[in-house]
């Protein structure tokens, strides 16, 4: 991409010729090159989005987990120094029980998203993007086009109609973009899309999409299915997709994040309406937790601060979710555990080195102190088939967001003219 290759040089030239420095730090493009490469050139993704945000990461395919992102760094035009966000993010299970009670799959640990189940990208799989070649993670690995990297418009990033003392009325209006990483795995008749969207404002969205076809064999009684053929004869079985992700932060490369839970409750009346009180609970030891109204969690660096003096953090934002309470492992929304190398899968963890550690419940059982926390996020989707699911089935999605909270002292997309708007204005 010649456009981007010339950008760095042009930036220096422009600054020099106008005698102005855009930023006291070195240009974003130059900074990561100084550090030792965390992975080979062919397994690194480093792309700059139109608003100037650069994401850099390493990727690999693993036989069971499929796509794994590692060493994820972000920088922006406003904050050109690349700062690490994640050590790694990966799928950690996909549990698929059918409402009939007679069928259940664990697609990550009993089948696998990588290796021979990973699809070679073709057709429109990576339209407008770059299909990257790399190992498929099979027992006898093949190099194939398995990762799609693309930049996609994400809609309006912000909008502000300003009024200034001098009579100017500037309109700040900006289109946002995401760097999108995508891989496709075929598990029987289902095809799953593992997707990570790295937004230009620092947000990370993790999603799992399901397409392919409904199970050809699972047709059931009327109370456990939905009629999708002619009349009321073929009741396709309702079923669950409970997905787990393993998220390991390494904020600013310093690790040792602290876990905080925030709760906001109604606490009396003010002169007009209810008073709400927000309290923080530090989660110091391993455990599983679930949402109540307005509850949220964040992982806070214990040492890295933004220029406002606030500790950097990322917040877990959960959305649509169907909880599968029939298994204890798929009941909690999130589990925090101390990092251990052999704790890889939320359920069905099978490592002879730690034979008793079979699920997140085992990992958290001894309530170890969280010195280097790993976050296990569960998001469930109860799939009630519909006529439109044939055929191929339109993608249905489930996932969550990781939202930067005080990662930078202002939005990384703040336009220059708004740079002074930090805190209460006079």
């Amino acid at each position: 991409m010649t456009y981007r290759k010339t950008a760095g040089a042009a930036a220096l030239l422009t600054v020099a010729s106008l005698g102005l420095a855009a930023s006291p730090a070195s240009p974003a493009a130059a900074a990561p090159a100084a550090a030792a490469a965390p992975c080979a050139t062919s397994t690194m993704v480093k792309e700059t989005l139109p608003n100037g945000t650069t994401w850099q990461l390493c990727w690999r395919m693993q036989e069971q987990a499929g796509l794994i992102l590692e060493k994820v760094f972000v920088s922006s035009r406003r904050y050109p120094e690349p700062v690490q966000v994640l050590d790694s993010i990966r799928l950690a299970q996909l549990n698929v029980p059918y409402d009939s009670g007679d069928t259940e799959y664990n697609d990550i640990t009993d089948y696998g998203f990588g290796g021979w189940n990973l699809q070679t990208l073709t057709g429109d799989d990576c339209k407008g993007g770059s299909a990257r070649v790399g190992s498929d993670g099979a027992p006898e690995p093949q190099r194939r086009k398995v990762l799609c990297v693309s930049a996609e418009a994400s809609g309006l990033a912000y909008r502000l109609h300003g009024y200034e003392n001098n009579g100017r009325e500037p309109i700040y209006s900006k289109q946002g973009h995401d760097l999108v990483l995508r891989a496709i795995s075929k598990v029987g008749w289902y095809e799953y899309v593992t997707e990570y969207r790295l937004h230009d404002d620092g947000q990370i969205s993790a999603r799992l999409g399901a397409t392919g076809d409904l199970s050809p064999g699972d047709y059931v009684s009327a109370d456990k299915g939905w009629p999708i053929g002619k009349g009321a004869r073929d009741y396709a079985a309702m079923h669950y997709h409970s997905a787990f992700w393993r998220v390991d932060f390494n904020i600013a490369g310093k690790g040792k994040e602290k876990v905080e839970q925030y709760d906001t409750k109604v606490n009396g009346r003010g002169s007009m309406t209810a008073k709400l009180k927000t309290t923080k609970t530090t989660i110091a030891k391993e455990g599983s937790f679930s949402k109540v109204n307005r509850r949220w969690w964040r992982l806070v660096s214990s040492s890295s601060k933004n220029k406002d003096g606030h500790l950097r953090s990322y917040e877990l934002v959960t959305g649509a979710d169907d909880r599968y309470e029939a298994h204890p492992e798929t009941t909690p929304d999130v589990t925090f555990t101390q990092s251990h190398a052999c704790e890889k899968y939320a359920t069905g963890n099978a490592d002879p080195q730690c034979a008793s550690k079979k699920s997140i419940l085992d990992f958290a059982k001894n309530k170890e102190t969280l010195k280097d926390p790993v976050m296990w996020v569960r998001v469930g989707f109860h799939h009630v088939p519909r006529d439109e699911d044939q055929s191929p089935m339109p993608l249905h999605w489930q996932g969550f967001d990781l939202l930067p909270r005080d990662f930078t002292e202002m939005s990384p997309l703040t336009p220059a003219a708004r740079a002074g708007v930090n805190g209460q204005q006079d």
Binding site: A7, E70, T109, R168, A417
Partner: protein
Amino acid sequence: MLTATIDEGEDMGRRRTWGWGLGIATVTAVTAFGVASWHANAAPSPGPGTAAAEQARVSDPDPGPEPATGVGRDALTSGEVDRARELAVTPELAAGAEDVTGAKGPEYLSADVLADGGGRRAELYYYDYKTDKLVKQVVDLKAGKLAESYSAAGMQRPASEREVATALDMLLADPLAAELKNAYQKATGKQFAGKDGLTVKAHVYKARPADTGAADCGKHRCLQLVVETADGLFIDVNDIIIDLSGRTVARLK
């Protein structure tokens, strides 16, 4: 020009009287956008949004040949996998373990780069059908030696291609093959003429408390086949479980 306008904010007031302005913010914008925007800046543009803002492209690098070794936590290269497999199968394991065909030596399942530590280390998984144990061998690729060894019963990982092929052969040799043949005829309208052209994969099957017929699965290594014809039709043999450890084929329900 437009880049500058977007970054500074489109001035609704000033635009009416002065047209497009070039302020300090313009410099910042141009700096980051580079050559394309710099040239675009030379002339006013009819509306907000430039080609650069609308078209978001990514690079499309040439992957080059496969390197001999990976960097950091890159996936193991095929050369590294070959080397690691040589180091992982010790003489004791080669002589004492048994693979899915009943021959000496463990059944190779998978290899992965080890997620912790520095250097290039690999963890390899094998199944020993003689003892029904999952074996994990940790290999230090740099030092060229086996570093750690673990094994445990009652643990399963996804099936290897050879295990799936063996399971299919076991099913075809069993009276329950009639169910596969019937399902094939029902799905395709044609008579089953052998395994050629079928794509077969498998879930590892572990018995649930209520299971009958395959209660040993989990302790034993068992597979549930996913059979697809060349035409993309699935043959439903979901209720048939092949116990590779016990060398039996059973029907659930």
